[in-house]
């Protein structure tokens, strides 16, 4: 364990020497903070306010309860008036004290007074507490402008930060999970590592057939219903079906053990998996994403992240496979089997930690391209639901009026900075983890 810690510390030391990468890393931390606090940075409700002698923290109070309602006593009529926090326009109330968030607009909010592309330097108006529409003070200005339906660009940027980071991480998480599983199997067993009875080998095929039948044909309606009621439930049922498939296949192969006289043969695991990886690796990814997303009537971000992730998995599988093929021939692994360790333990405890370096490097670059892919889809209006505000969809709303340069420049810069940041982190990681550059 101490050795592992020392290695991490050493990598961090190396990484720190690369200044652009280090700056990018701190920037990433900042972006994560912005994403986590997005509802406190850009919100139409005040952070703190005093109204009719009563103190509220609307932005905080609605974090977990969106439609929180409270009431105040109107001194003129002596009646209680209801305040539903998220639909109240606090600007129209006579607040005694107020602290606004840095951007006093929510991402999805339509500012009806500043519609039709209010320029950052243009004339902005708001409705004050006396019900007059007057020129907006500095705090209520849209510093980065608005779009056609009056959404604040700055608020959209803050809200989009979380989505961009989430897309990158989730897509690459999915890719890493499947990529590592597939690549490790191919690399660990190779073409000669898995020796079984010929009977087991032969029996696995009918096993596969029955596994497919009981996992997918019998459960067909269950699967379809699960996918109809939600992506998450669908995936759970899919994993269950895959589990049934593998249990039945392994069960059939296990029966082969009773044929004591059967000769031992090697299963060409690597050839089989490598061919599949190559096939999926040469698929035109973006085109595939666009085409597949056309099938889904209900658009969802989860689906986009899932497809991007699945299509990146072969790359990671390829990297992991190459590392495993190298490491499995090292002495410490060769001696682990005679010591009585199981395959699973050797794969996950002894080889995997040493094989992860290229995967981390790829993931940094992969997150950058996942963010580009998602924003391209949002830009085209395919994939994400129309009411979700992302960086790509902000740029896309400039296509109706090219004079609105702020709709292009600011979200574009946000994407550009994020992508550059991940690319620089990737380069830094590669330099830090590549043993050839170490002294």
């Amino acid at each position: 364990m101490t050795r592992g810690k020392r290695h991490t510390a050493q990598t961090w030391q190396q990484f720190r020497k690369n200044k652009p990468a280090l700056v990018s890393f701190y920037l990433l931390v900042l972006f994560v903070v912005i994403a986590l606090c997005s509802d406190l940075i850009a919100n139409r409700q005040p952070l703190y306010t005093k109204y009719r002698g009563k103190v509220f923290y609307p932005a905080f109070q609605t974090l977990f309860h969106k439609t929180l309602t409270d009431s105040t006593l109107n001194p003129a009529t002596q009646k209680y008036e209801k305040l539903q926090f998220d639909i109240t326009d606090w600007r129209e109330l006579e607040l005694e004290k107020v602290v606004w968030p840095p951007i006093p607009y929510s991402a999805a909010q339509h500012d009806t007074y500043n519609m039709d592309y209010a320029a950052p330097s243009g004339n902005h108006v708001y409705k004050n507490s006396k019900g007059e529409i007057t020129s907006a003070p500095y705090i209520f200005r849209h510093h980065l402008g608005t779009n056609r339906i009056g959404q604040d660009v700055a608020a959209g940027l803050v809200h989009g930060t979380g989505i961009a980071i989430q897309v990158g991480l989730v897509a690459m998480g999915i890719a890493a999970f499947f990529g590592i599983l597939i690549g490790a199997t191919a690399g660990y067993f190779g073409d000669d590592g898995l020796r079984v009875n010929r009977a087991s080998y032969v029996l696995a095929f009918p096993g596969l057939f029955f596994g497919y039948f009981y996992g997918f044909v019998v459960r067909k309606n269950i699967l379809l219903e699960a996918f109809d009621s939600g992506l998450f439930l669908g995936v759970v049922q899919l994993v269950l079906s895959l589990a049934i498939l593998s249990i039945i296949t392994i069960g059939f192969a296990y029966l082969g053990r009773f044929f004591k006289k059967s000769r031992k043969v090697s299963v060409p695991v690597d050839i089989f998996i490598s061919r599949i990886i190559e096939i999926f690796d040469s698929m035109p990814a973006l085109l595939l994403i666009i085409t597949i997303s056309s099938l889904f009537v209900e658009k969802s971000l989860t689906m986009v992240m899932g497809i991007i992730g699945f299509l990146a998995a072969p790359r990671i599988a390829r990297l992991i496979r190459a590392e495993f093929l190298r490491i499995r021939n090292l002495e410490y692994v060769q001696s682990a089997r005679p010591l009585g360790m199981g395959h699973i333990r050797i794969i996950f405890r002894h080889i995997l930690p040493n094989a992860l370096a290229p995967v981390f490097v790829y993931m940094a670059f992969g997150i950058a391209s996942a963010i580009i892919a998602e924003s391209s889809l949002s830009f085209l209006g395919i994939g994400v639901p129309p009411e979700t505000v992302t960086w790509g969809s902000l740029i896309s709303s400039a296509r109706d009026d090219y004079n609105a340069w702020w709709m292009v420049v600011f979200p574009g810069l946000a994407i550009f900075i994020t992508v550059t940041m991940y690319n620089l982190i990737g380069e830094g990681l590669r330099d830090a983890l590549d043993p050839r550059l170490k002294v």
Partner: protein, 367 residues
């Protein structure tokens, strides 16, 4: 070498088959019934009475082969399609073989033998006609962009390697790295906003291929090209810049490696000028890895065409698939996807073969 080529071509076939499965899968699982979509599009679905419509649908289904089984074989339970089956029959598998009388076989043979992708729901015209009309533009744009990218980035990479660690190298590295991180839809929109907009600079026409009022179909080709040129400048920039960034980085890396080798020292020692070394010795040896880059540039250009053609309203394949997506015109989506997929795989195949010819080590190391 021969073995490598055969293996590489053998890999091409299953990949193509999988592309065809994906395309077929999309056309089968597309929302809505194809026959009803077709009828609704042709007459608004109102003029025919219900009974006639049912008969018409059944007839049309038979014509299109939609009443056939989906694939060559199918695994079901014994109970499937049987009246009053016992519950245990649900758990007994049955395999059915259908031979070539199935939808997939029919679909594929129509494409391979007749180039027939069906008819578009929207225009009621054969999908192949639309593809044939749009393919030349997309293809020439892609080709032009690839040629342009190599033409710019090879000298760029070479000079960066020659003046390594000097100002030119460092400045170009930073600029190219930044260009590489700009998504092409952002670049395209940015170009339109600032260079085709009366509010800023109106250097280029904002969209389309030609001026509808002035364009004359009887013009000789070179006048047509003159007319098209200003329309294509911005799309080409949006198409090319990221490949330039990518290729010149690769080129520089290759050239730097060659510069470090012994025979360059020998060339210097015998008094060859630095320029002669650069172009005679380094260039030839550094060119090889660039060939594989072709494999990565080509599919990227194809995917990029969807975005670039949409932004600049160019009537090519990329815009065609985008419009079809918005209209849920599935025959067109499947057709364009299949053609694009085919060309992408062909691009990979050709560049792998070129690479194997240029660098024999590849074909030996992989066996």
């Amino acid at each position: 070498m021969t073995i490598y080529l055969i293996r590489r071509i053998l890999l091409f076939v299953p990949t193509l088959i999988i592309i065809s499965w994906v395309a077929f899968g999309i056309s089968v699982s597309a929302p809505g019934d194809p026959v009803e979509n077709m009828l609704n599009a042709s007459d608004g679905g109102s003029t025919i009475n219900i009974a006639n419509k049912q008969a018409l649908i059944a007839k049309k289904r038979h014509e299109l082969g939609l009443d056939l089984p989906l694939f060559y074989f199918n695994i079901t339970s014994v109970a499937d399609g049987k009246q009053g089956a016992a519950s245990w029959e649900n758990y007994v598998p049955a395999i059915h073989f259908y031979g070539t009388q199935n939808q997939y076989h029919r679909w594929l043979s129509h494409i391979v033998l007749h180039g027939d992708f069906g008819t578009s729901y929207n225009t009621q015209l054969p999908v192949m006609d639309a593809i044939r009309a749009k393919l030349p533009l997309s293809f020439s744009l892609t080709l032009l962009s690839v040629i342009l990218a190599f033409g710019i980035s090879i000298p760029l990479g070479m000079y960066a390697a020659r003046y390594r660690e000097r100002f030119f190298d460092k400045a170009s590295a930073v600029v190219l790295f930044m260009l590489y991180s700009i998504p092409n839809f952002f670049m395209g929109t940015l170009l339109l906003v600032f260079f085709a907009n009366p509010q800023f600079l109106k250097w280029f026409p904002e969209s389309g291929m030609q001026d509808a009022l002035n364009f004359d179909d009887t013009w000789p080709l070179w006048i047509k090209i003159q007319h098209w040129a200003p329309y294509l400048v911005l799309p080409l920039v949006a198409y090319t810049y990221s490949s330039v960034a990518f290729i010149s980085r690769q080129m520089k890396a290759g050239a730097v490696e060659v510069f470090g080798q012994e025979f360059i020292k020998a060339a210097r020692a015998k008094g060859l000028s630095e320029n002669a070394i650069l172009w005679k010795h380094v260039f030839r040896n550094a060119l090889m890895p660039i060939i594989t880059v072709f494999a990565q540039v080509f599919p990227a250009a194809i995917a990029g065409s969807v975005i670039v053609e949409t932004i600049f309203a160019l009537p090519g394949m990329g815009r065609e698939i985008y419009q079809a997506l918005l209209n849920h015109d599935y025959p067109v989506i499947v057709g364009v996807f299949t053609i694009f997929g085919f060309f992408t795989l062909l691009g990979y195949l050709v560049s792998d073969i070129l690479y194997a010819i240029a660098d024999p080590r590849i074909s030996y190391s992989k066996s």
